[in-house]
Every structure is written in structure tokens, then in C-alpha cells.
């Protein structure tokens, strides 16, 4: 059974790759410890003529099993820091991005589009409930906020998650790589409707996206 969701954004594959590498590293540690434990308890189980080997330890062993984990986590840390910075840094958002604002509230995602002029905060903006339409292969920057409780904007196939906090405007970016429809989930307990705070990302070709935007901006349907 396939567990990780499909990848539909540019950084999804990088995050999954990190996941698999960490799985391999921890897997090796897991095997060493569990097999070691099992072997020791079988090999050194009590027998009537046994006496345990009296020792208080080994400095060499301590150094080895301190240094190797330390080196491993430092490498993982440096790598993680670099990838993290690429994804979450707010002062280096991608250029030429489509801008969208999302206000999370109990229990819906209110998506505000920039309209025909392409700029948010102008009179031709319009808001749609729960439907995020974006073009494929183009960066999108979401200005994320919340109106009441803390929510969390989560698109599993993008490997994207960002808490939406009242009083804060948090920019979050992604670039979708596949046309399709993907679910948005809320990933922070926000009340009794938290489990149903479901939205949909519609990734279009650029042409379809432009067409949709024109139709909607010209007074299309929907509260």
C-alpha cells in the first residue's frame, strides 16, 4: 500500500527525499539496537554456571557512540536548515508569483483573488469559499491569516503546511507541478468543525486559469 501522498509541488520531492534518507539512517540505528538487544538477551541469558563480566564501562565505547550520533545529527541538521530556509524564508519569496490571500475561519477557507488587475487589496478583488484556483508550474504566494482561532493550511500533495494565526499575515509559497484537484485540510484543532474544514486546490493550465479568473472576476457565482 502506498502511504506517502502523490507529489504535486516542486519541494514535495525534496521533503520526501529527506524523509527517506532519515528513514534509512534511523532504520540502521533501529536494526543495530533491536538486533543487538535480541542477540544479547539470548546470548547472555542466565545459565546456572554463568557469572556476569564485571566491568564499569569503556571510555572508548562512550566516545564512539557519542561521536557517531553527534556527527550524524549535525549533518542532518545542516541539510535540514538549508531546505527549510528555501521553503519557509519570508524575505526571499519567488518572483513572478500569483498572489492570493487566504483567511481561515471556523470552518472554512476564504480565498481572496486579486482579480483582473493582479493586485491584492484593490476593489476588483473577489472572495471564494473553500476553492483555491492556481496555475500549474508557476509560484503562488498565499498571504495566510485567520479570523478567529488558529487554523493550519495543509495541502498534503504539496507537502505544504502553515499555521494561520489571528493577527498575523504569513506568506507561504508553493509551485504546483501537476494539473488536478487536491484537498486542503485544516491541521490545527480549531473547534467542533475542525475535522470538516476541507477545501480544494484546483491546479489549472495557465490558459484555463486565466479563463477562470476572467469569468469569476466579471461577477461570477458564489458566496
Amino acid at each position: 500500500m502506498h502511504w506517502l501522498p502523490p507529489q504535486a509541488s516542486t519541494f514535495a520531492s525534496e521533503i520526501d527525499f529527506m524523509f527517506w534518507v532519515i528513514l534509512v539512517i534511523t532504520g540502521i540505528a533501529f536494526v543495530i539496537v533491536e538486533v543487538g538487544l535480541l542477540w544479547f538477551v539470548i546470548r547472555y541469558r542466565h545459565r546456572p554456571d554463568r557469572r556476569a563480566y564485571y566491568t564499569h564501562g569503556s571510555k572508548t565505547a562512550e566516545i564512539i557512540w557519542t561521536a557517531i550520533p553527534a556527527a550524524t545529527v549535525i549533518v542532518l541538521g545542516v541539510w535540514s536548515g538549508r531546505v527549510w530556509g528555501e521553503i519557509k524564508r519570508r524575505d526571499r519569496l519567488p518572483a513572478n508569483a500569483v498572489r492570493v490571500a487566504i483567511a481561515a475561519k471556523q470552518f472554512e477557507w476564504n480565498v481572496t483573488y486579486a482579480g483582473a488587475d493582479g493586485a491584492l487589496g484593490t476593489p476588483d478583488d473577489f472572495t471564494v469559499r473553500n476553492q483555491l484556483h492556481v496555475p500549474v508550474d508557476r509560484p503562488v504566494v498565499v498571504d495566510l491569516t485567520a479570523e478567529d482561532a488558529i487554523h493550519s493550511f495543509f495541502v498534503p500533495v504539496f507537502r505544504l503546511k502553515q499555521d494561520a494565526v489571528p493577527g498575523m499575515r504569513i506568506p507561504v509559497w508553493f509551485e504546483a507541478t501537476q494539473v488536478g484537484e487536491y484537498e486542503i485540510a485544516c491541521a490545527e484543532l480549531c473547534g467542533l468543525g475542525h475535522y470538516r474544514m476541507r477545501g480544494m486546490v484546483h491546479v489549472h493550465t495557465q490558459e484555463d486559469f486565466d479563463r477562470w479568473m476572467l469569468a469569476r472576476a466579471a461577477g461570477g457565482e458564489g458566496r
Binding site: W3, H46, A52, V73, G85, S152, L189, Y195, R196
Partner: protein, 576 residues
């Protein structure tokens, strides 16, 4: 710090006969207080488990009436079908009862109280009456916490982490009185913990018997001592945050309400500044106890005793600077994420050191598989899984996907159940003879262990896979999402595992209560252990030691070349 113990024979209470109430209910004897905490905490462990069963029912069979659920009031369930707001309360109260009223008091309240004076050679705690107050305050906190279920609007439903603004605003959560009772209950419990920790620290510093130097202390005592320092420093931070939230709920303040200048993120910083040391409070005593039991079961000194002490200290120290790893996706400055990520990665190292030292203890040992040892071995093997899964979340990019999913739930339960709870079971089996003067049934103990181990893994290991799918936490009905529907079978499997896990506790409950009356009378030292507690009767008299013992060597002199026996109690001199 002095290495000389102060004689406190006077604290033994003289020779007048105490009434039943003064002896067993309002007792100042650390052993009775420890046993009181034991009964109270085991009760709350069961309560927490039952709440989880209801959650698992809803997750396994969403929207189906719970068998017998018709008795639930219509504010909790409609025709036996759990309502979403009640589900959120279940999630909240399961976590709250388990963390604050089960695991923490089982480790710190029970074994801190019971073991510290006995294992350091003292007649009682430094402040026996404060000790008594500490228990009864905790008891009161438990009553307050249970009362929340009867509140209009239901019990607290914002998670055991109680994030604001959801927890601060009744118009968002639908809960007012329940949240207030939750806050008051925890504030009261905090007082109990702070009093207890102050007592433990004073006792360990001042009341060690002659010869009981710092580096002859058993690791269980080192762990409990360092844990007490963590409690003393961390609980007041929680209390402060709880009081601010309580004021927001009741006095119209706006500490966490952004519309009036408050800061939602401040709650998270305050809570997790307490919350991360709290999880080390929940694991360090377990690690210390496991060290004692593994050395005993292997008939071998602990491998790397000094490294083990250093590792406890390192974990405790580093635990103060990692709290932001709970907040990577919170909206705080991502640069902070990087710094917290580094400290979190580093804290993996002392845990690794401890794991390898436990393996070193087993290596070339002479291993006896008594029930406490089985549980201690389960601790090591399961805690490792929990620790390794933590590395995934420590990596900030991977955490983007895994935050608030079942991967976290798996991690929590591998360290808290696979770790702390197995250690607690080990401790209960190990010290029961000393506490109650009776042996528990070894056979039932092994049955309990095997069933628990199997069904525990059946319940919690699949949660790692659910987490990989992106399955969120605290979700009343996962089938509302297309991307989660294919994995509903896994949810059902976990639910079945959970019910079997609960059923597996029956042999333990039976064994515990039956042995109180019918267990074989316990000898002085059934495990042939080195600790000072095994040199006094089972159970020990008030005042513990007829004369203050003198300690001659460290706690783990098993299979020493100086003795023919394979153990050497700490107060026993070696004939040359």
C-alpha cells in the same frame, strides 16, 4: 552540598500509636504517601484509557453508536453517536489525565516519594507534612479535573495543549466552565508538584546517609533528583500561563486575544517552555528506574555510570532550549526554527548514549527474565523507536508534512507508553514486594507483559504509517477526506488493537489486587538487589532504618570479584 547526612530520628514520629486516619489517610510517611499516589494515579490511568477507547471507537467506526453509549447525555452523544465537540473533549482529557494525573504522578509522585528516602538511607523526606499536603492537593486537583465533565458546555476541548485563542474564547469553543475547571485543576496540581519537587531536592541534598556520596547514588535517584529540579523550574511557567488564560476566560483580560493587543503565539511559547521540560520529567525517572532494573536483571554493573549521570544532566539541560520544535509551523520566525532544530538534533545524542550503555550493561551479563526485567527491556526497545521517530520531526522540512499528523501521535505514544509506562510497570512489579510485603504472581506478570507488548505495538506502530499519509490529529471523522478514506482499514486495525490492549490490563489489575491479600509473603530481598531499601523489612517500618546505614560502595556492584554472591548491597562491608 554536604556528603554527611543529618540525623533525623526525631522525624520518625516518636512511639505513640497513631490512629488509622493518621496512619493511612493523613499520613506523613513518605511510603504511605507514595502508595496513595499509586492508587490515585492507577485510577486516572484507567480513566485516561477508557477515554481513549471512546476516541478509538469513533475513529474506527465513524458515526456509529458506541455500544452502551445510550447512557451518555445528549450533550456528549446523540443516540450513542459521539458528537464532534465531545470527541474534542475526549482528545483533550485523554491527554490531560494521562500526562498530569497518570504518568507524571506515577513516576514522580509514587517512585520519587517511595524510593528517595529509602535508597539514600534517610528515615523520611525532609518535610513530611509538606509531603502529605502535596498528595492531598493533587487529590483535590483530580476532583476538580473530573468535575469538568459535568460542566455546561462540556469539558475542556482545546487539546491538552490548550492553544489560545480557541481555549481563551468560549464563543469559539463552546466551552466555558469546563475550560475554567481544567485551568484551575492544573494550577492546583502545579502547586502539588512544586511542593513535592522542593521536598525531593532538599532530601537528596541533605539527608543522604554517611558514605552515600553523589556518585554512589543509584541512577533512579539521580534521575528523580534532576527531574525534581526540572519540575521546580518548569511548573511555575505553566502556572503563570494557566493563570493568564484563566484571566482571559473569567476576568475579561486579553493576553491571548489579538483583537485587544494580545498574542496567540505567546501561549505556545509559554506552554512549550514548560511543556518540553515536562516531557523529560515524564521520561527521566523512567530511564533511572530502568537502569536500576537492568543492572539487577543482568547481574552486572551499569555500563558507563558516569556517562549515564552526565546524559541525564545533558538531557535536562538541553531540554530547556528545544521548546520551539513544537512550533516550527506556528508562524514564528523561520530562523528560530533553524536554531531550535539544531538544539533538538543535539538532544538526541545523550539519549543515544543511554541506549548504548543499557546495551553495554546487558552485554556479557547473566540475564534473568523476571517481570520487571521484561518491562525494562521493553522500555529500551520501544523508547528507541520513539526517539528515532523524533528525528523525523526534528528535521524542519520533514516536520512541515508530519506536524499535527499521526506520526506525532505515534512518537508520543512510543516514548510515553513504550517508554514511560513500561518502565512504570517494571517499577510496580519490582517494588511491590517492598511496598506491600507480598509477591505478585510472576506468571500473571509475564502474561500481562506479553499481551501488553503485542497489542501495544499493534495499536501504535501503524500510526507511523497513518502519519505518512498525512492523516491529521484530533480528527473526529477521517472519512470526510478523500485522501484518507483508503486508510480507514488501518484505523480499524488500531481500534481493535486498542481494545485488546485495554483488555490485556485485566491480568495486571487482578494480580495487583489479589496479591495484596493472597500473594506469597515477600522476603527481605527477593530480587537480590543492592539498594538500601532491600536491607529493611517488607514493608519497611515507619522511620525506615533502625539505625542509619553507612554506605561503602556504589549501587551496581553485581558479580563483583570481591564477593561469592552475585550482588553486594551498598551498606555491606566487604570482608577482605
Amino acid at each position: 552540598m554536604t556528603t554527611a547526612a543529618v540525623h533525623h530520628e526525631a522525624a520518625a514520629g516518636g512511639h505513640h500509636e497513631l490512629s488509622f486516619v493518621r496512619k493511612y489517610i493523613f499520613s506523613t510517611d513518605h511510603k504511605i504517601i507514595g502508595i496513595q499516589f499509586l492508587f490515585m494515579s492507577l485510577f486516572f490511568l484507567l480513566v485516561g484509557g477508557l477515554l481513549a477507547m471512546m476516541m478509538r471507537w469513533q475513529l474506527g467506526y465513524p458515526g456509529k453508536a458506541v455500544p452502551g453509549g445510550g447512557v451518555l447525555p445528549e450533550t456528549m452523544a446523540s443516540g450513542g453517536v459521539i458528537l464532534p465537540e465531545f470527541y474534542n473533549s475526549l482528545v483533550t482529557m485523554h491527554g490531560t489525565f494521562m500526562v498530569f494525573f497518570a504518568i507524571m504522578p506515577l513516576l514522580v509522585g509514587v517512585y520519587g516519594n517511595y524510593l528517595i528516602p529509602l535508597k539514600i538511607g534517610a528515615p523520611d523526606m525532609a518535610f513530611p507534612r509538606i509531603n502529605m499536603a502535596s498528595f492531598w492537593i493533587a487529590f483535590g486537583a483530580g476532583i476538580i479535573m473530573l468535575a469538568g465533565f459535568f460542566a455546561t458546555g462540556g469539558h475542556a476541548a482545546a487539546g491538552w495543549t490548550s492553544y489560545a485563542p480557541l481555549s481563551a474564547r468560549s464563543d469559539l469553543s463552546g466551552v466555558h466552565m469546563g475550560q475554567v475547571l481544567w485551568l484551575v485543576g492544573l494550577i492546583v496540581l502545579g502547586l502539588s508538584s512544586i511542593l513535592g519537587s522542593m521536598n525531593y531536592i532538599t532530601t537528596v541534598v541533605n539527608l543522604r546517609a554517611p558514605g552515600m556520596t553523589w556518585f554512589r547514588l543509584p541512577l533512579s535517584i539521580w534521575a528523580l533528583f534532576i527531574t525534581a529540579i526540572l519540575v521546580l523550574l518548569a511548573m511555575p511557567v505553566l502556572s503563570g500561563a494557566l493563570i493568564m488564560l484563566l484571566f482571559d476566560q473569567t476576568l475579561g483580560t486579553h493576553f491571548f486575544d489579538v483583537s485587544a493587543g494580545g498574542q496567540p503565539l505567546m501561549w505556545q511559547h509559554l506552554f512549550w517552555f514548560f511543556g518540553h521540560p515536562e516531557v523529560y520529567i515524564l521520561i527521566l525517572p523512567a530511564m533511572g528506574i530502568v537502569s536500576d532494573i537492568i543492572a539487577n536483571g543482568s547481574r552486572k554493573p551499569i555500563f558507563g555510570y558516569h556517562s549515564m549521570v552526565f546524559a541525564i544532566g545533558a538531557i535536562a539541560f538541553l531540554g530547556w532550549i528545544v521548546w520551539g520544535h513544537h512550533m516550527f509551523q506556528s508562524g514564528m520566525n523561520p530562523m528560530l526554527g533553524t536554531s531550535f532544530m539544531i538544539s533538538t538534533m543535539v538532544i538526541a545524542v545523550p539519549s543515544a548514549i543511554k541506549t548504548f550503555n543499557w546495551m553495554g550493561t546487558l552485554w556479557r551479563g547473566n540475564i534473568h527474565f523476571h517481570t520487571p526485567m521484561l518491562n525494562a527491556l521493553a522500555f529500551v526497545s520501544m523508547f528507541v523507536i520513539g526517539g528515532l521517530s523524533g528525528i523525523f520531526m526534528a528535521s524542519t522540512p520533514v516536520d512541515i508534512f508530519q506536524h499535527d499528523t499521526y506520526f506525532i501521535v505515534a512518537h508520543i505514544h512510543y516514548v510515553l507508553f513504550g517508554g514511560s509506562l513500561f518502565a512504570i510497570f517494571g517499577a510496580i512489579y519490582f517494588w511491590y514486594p517492598k511496598m506491600f510485603g507480598r509477591m505478585m504472581s510472576e506468571r500473571l506478570g509475564k502474561v500481562h507483559f506479553v499481551l501488553t507488548f503485542v497489542f501495544y505495538n499493534l495499536t501504535f506502530f501503524p500510526m507511523h504509517f497513518l502519519g505518512m499519509t498525512g492523516h491529521m490529529r484530533r480528527i473526529y471523522d477521517p472519512t470526510q477526506y478523500e485522501f484518507l478514506r483508503p486508510y480507514q482499514g488501518t484505523n480499524r486495525l488500531i481500534t481493535v488493537g486498542a481494545f485488546l490492549l485495554l483488555a490485556s490490563q485485566l491480568p495486571f489489575i487482578w494480580n495487583f489486587f489479589w496479591s495484596l491479600r493472597k500473594g506469597a509473603k515477600a522476603p527481605l530481598n527477593p530480587w537480590r538487589d543492592n539498594g538500601l531499601e532491600w536491607t529493611v523489612p517488607s514493608p519497611p517500618p515507619h522511620g525506615n532504618f533502625a539505625t542509619t546505614p553507612t554506605v561503602h560502595h556504589g549501587p551496581y556492584e553485581y558479580s563483583s570479584p570481591l564477593t561469592t554472591d552475585d550482588y553486594l548491597p551498598q551498606n555491606q562491608e566487604v570482608r577482605p
